[in-house]
Symmetry: C2
Subunit: 592 residues, 2 copies
């Protein structure tokens, strides 16, 4: 079965959990009506299923190649990208002043899930362009904004992030690329690795954002600046000029996302690539974080998209594959009737729905933080966004490992055969916990900058909201809620205890690093339980109001399964957090 | 860093946990002295590191190919296999009457771990031969045994298992291959899929064991017979005769284990392959299980081997990769000094050590079940082996998914690049939860045949042993034991409660299938805690007796980490078990 965008589910999450109604009340978002959202999701679903998804497997098989200094993308990708541009998808949530459609990021989040389900290798290209647009919007001069943004918002030009160097991965303070001033611009030189879509011929131009050091810059992160380095220079009239001195010199041979080129980029082999400073000197890392925070949310959404696709394919196989007998059925049955296969499918679905809910809620917070009329609301929503971003990035991608692996398992032996396609989702998903900051980096950000720095204020506020919800939940009547009550209360207690423990042990050296990932997983698991349970209550309201649609009943079943089988993991994460750094730091490095 | 066999660790586990001393007291095992074991492990380590490991990456890259009707294995494999035969490795634990060395299976288990760490694709070939030897020994006529076993025990001829057909995977009752009687033999026809090392030129002959139906055989599992079908017929004088009518007709394109051919085998395209009945007519499945139970233990060991290899590579990378700063260190540090990297490495190591301990203990039980002098001991040990086998197979391979994935994660972006090698372990490991019976099939075997059938008698005996150990543990003094006491007691309680719940709800339809995998994971996790804690106590004795070797201190640290970070999962598995079938069976198949 080919991919079908989960439009009803997305609408449910946008409406009932992310409260798109409150987002649409912000000035400029008037067009985000339910009808408009439905039309957008349906059109996205059609394009994804009709154009992107058929290229997913062929793209994986063909991969990309470097011919001379040009990267050749897989057959069909350039044409598909052309359609993407013509349909204006790149500008969906981009400012109308650059001819974007100015819609909420929340809708972009839903649409991005669809792109990633259909073809993550393809989806990476517009995702990086969007990040570059955000950084240029926030930090570019008027001239840079006017020159580059309209073409990027239309998708005619794409963008890249050039951060990593061989010695500078998670630790960007070690960046060595250089920028020498020359008139109104700079000459950039150095090598960057792992540059996704660093070169291709799907767009007329590519806008590289590059971290580099100015002469005499201080060591460490405070001496790095951000530069805009176009593949082709842009003439004053906006036409394209000479090829800049920036080239892909080799491509990586990767486990997955084969259809997206991962380039080793060389800047300045011919004397220095012309680049333009973005933002202030030596403040490049802060500027890059504008782009990276956006990208982190979208990478979380990649996890959701891959999980959804793996789930759909596993369900489809489980419906068709006849094997064995099951209680209550005559003769051989489709394996979807076997209890253990159902358990796997429900585990996949529950984790996917939880990830989607968390990502959409965080995206709505993103919209409030940027568009609310009230300053104080914007500030407080920004705090919430800061807290949620690492969880969206890391939890939705860690669970994608589990979900895509279960997808292989449901297929049995066929799952290990590449033709089936299930293994590709696992291979593709494997990068998502690594790039844009590993799970460890996200967890360190969460515990250090988002929890310890404000002494637990923002997470305290979130816990209070969840406790208020808990009180509502405990007052609900009906047997479906029993397991959700126990599951959610236990998880909330585990999270609350873990946060208290972390705050009380803030001074312990190596505590944060030792417990951070378990804390992040605990937080994601609990948030997922909160939102799925909220969804179950909302679904029950539809049923109480007379709906006989199976969809609502299913929301309740999936939330119950999550409460019974996923939420109990919270206790285990909590115990691990509270065990602290002792065993972890006890072993001498040589003893490993 | 290249692979180094963990000889000291294996010796520790064999001695302290699997009690090789008691195995060596059985008649025929007198040679299994500590010195002999050390010499064998060292020689295995040398051969694995020197010959097998260098072929692991090249074999992955080259893969196998079919030329005409011959399978070509990767460069160097035939020569490496020749050395394997010359060193007599195939016969290590095979009967001396066929010129084997007659050593305990426990030693084979340790050696097999080493083969699988170095090169799982290669190791699959002798593993399947060993299974075929076991089936022919148990069920073959005198003549078949004399004709085939000496050549197979020497490794000159290899063996395969031909079970699966497109419509008959987990459910072998659907097998359709046919066997027509003709004189003293049969003519076999039909297609078999997923046949590992189904063809190659590393050995002179290949002995296929094939499930097929006789004319008029009853439907279902009670109408399947087992046949020995050689690639080349064997003349009366033992020399090789005509090519039999059995051929590899295509090879699968797989996620991993690229260096081992996975064949579509066609029998009887030219009128029928000559085959010989093994065991009784219509009792083929029981005969095949002889082979399969053995293979299941060895697949568990594959999980351990891959986990160990992934761990070693991750440690090596973490020692070399300089990135960022860490408390208590000046300047940039190797990432092994980062708390979260240590957490990942300890998680990998703790799960690997637990899997190894469980697999070795089960292998010792295998030896007692086959070689103890006393009938009653043999019977009771066989019961224990039956109980442990599905746990070894499924738990050690499920944890291998986690460990090999963490191995990739430790490498960051480099982990996703195939040249690094970390991704190969993940790809190779992915098959281990699937073949020789999926995790779901193992769990179903555990709960149905091994727990419910004897109404909890054998697992009750095991729980009693663990409770006795708990009492000893609770009496131990020293702060290291605190976390182990809590962790193990909680896990044991969770397992005990889950077993009680399962026994009390045995009549509930779909209960077993719904809870089986969580029960199996709970059991594996608890067994791991039991054995690692036992190991910690043993290690403390060495320290108390004056040893200053870091190895013993490390055993205690790893056991403490396991108690703090892995054992708490037991509670979550327990809650999932006790949630039963309700949510899992509630959803209509169409609603997925």
């Amino acid at each position: 079965m080919s991919y079908v965008a989960p439009i009803k589910e997305l609408q449910f999450v946008l409406t009932e959990l992310a409260d798109i109604g409150s987002v649409a009340r912000h000035p400029g978002f008037e067009e985000a009506t339910p009808d408009m959202v439905e039309a957008i999701l349906e059109e996205a679903g059609r394009y994804a299923a009709g154009i992107l998804e058929p290229l997913n497997r062929t793209g994986d098989q063909q991969g990309t190649r470097l011919e001379n200094d040009r990267v050749v993308s897989p057959a069909g990708f350039a044409e598909a990208y052309q359609q993407f541009v013509e349909s204006g998808w790149q500008g969906l949530n981009q400012p109308t002043e650059y001819d974007g459609q100015g819609l909420p990021f929340l809708i972009q989040c839903a649409v991005a899930e669809i792109w990633n389900s259909a073809n993550i290798s393809f989806a990476l290209c517009p995702m990086l362009t969007a990040g570059a647009i955000e950084a240029i919007s926030a930090h570019g001069s008027d001239s840079l904004r006017q020159t580059y943004l309209p073409k990027m918002v239309s998708g005619e030009w794409t963008g890249t992030m050039n951060l990593t160097e061989p010695q500078a991965g998670s630790d960007l303070s070690a960046v060595r690329a250089k920028a020498e001033p020359e008139g109104d611009h700079y000459r950039i030189s150095g090598q960057k690795i792992f540059i996704t879509w660093g070169d291709h011929e799907m767009s007329e131009n590519i806008v590289h954002l590059v971290l580099a050091r100015l002469p005499g810059a201080p060591d460490g992160v405070k001496g790095i600046s951000l530069f805009l380095v176009p593949k082709y220079l842009v003439n004053d009239d906006g036409s394209l000029g000479a090829r800049n001195d920036a080239r892909a010199v080799s491509l990586e041979h990767k486990l997955g996302i084969h259809a997206s080129p991962t380039c080793l980029m060389s800047f300045g082999d011919g004397g220095g690539a012309i680049g333009y400073l973005l933002g202030e000197k030596h403040r490049g890392l802060a500027c890059m974080f504008t782009m990276m925070n956006h990208a982190r949310l979208e990478v979380g959404v990649e996890g959701v998209g891959l999980s959804e696709r793996a789930y759909q394919q596993a369900v489809s196989y489980a419906r068709e594959r006849i094997q064995g007998y099951a209680p209550g059925h005559d003769g051989r049955v489709a394996i979807i009737h076997h209890a253990d296969v159902r358990r796997m499918l429900l585990q996949m679905r529950a984790l996917t729905e939880a990830g989607r809910a968390i990502a959409c809620v965080a995206s709505a917070v993103h919209d409030h933080a940027h568009h609310a009329g009230d300053d104080a609301v914007r500030r407080s929503q920004q705090q919430r966004l800061n807290l949620l971003t690492p969880v969206v990035k890391a939890w939705c991608t860690e669970t994608a490992q589990e979900v895509t692996s279960l997808g292989v398992q449901v297929h049995g032996g066929m799952g290990f055969i590449e033709e089936t396609g299930a293994a590709q989702y696992l291979r593709d998903a494997r990068i998502t916990t690594i790039y844009e900051g590993t799970t460890g980096i996200q967890a360190s950000d969460l515990i250090g900058r988002k929890i310890l720095r404000d002494r637990g204020a923002e997470i305290g506020a979130l816990l209070t909201e969840m406790r208020q919800f808990e009180a509502e939940l405990l007052a609900m009547e009906g047997s479906d809620y029993e397991i959700m009550k126990t599951g959610f209360s236990d998880a909330l207690e585990a999270l609350s205890d873990a946060v208290d423990w972390v705050l009380a042990n803030a001074e312990q050296p190596d505590m944060a690093g030792s417990v951070a990932v378990n804390l992040l997983m605990l937080m994601g698991t609990t948030l997922g339980g909160w939102l799925l349970t909220k969804g179950a209550i909302a679904a029950q309201r539809y049923i109480d109001n007379g709906s006989t649609d199976d969809f609502y009943r299913t929301k309740i079943t999936v939330a119950g399964f999550y409460a019974a089988q996923i939420l109990p993991r919270s206790t285990a994460y909590g115990v691990a957090v509270r065990s602290g750094a002792k065993d972890i730091m006890a072993m001498p490095a040589e003893a490993f």
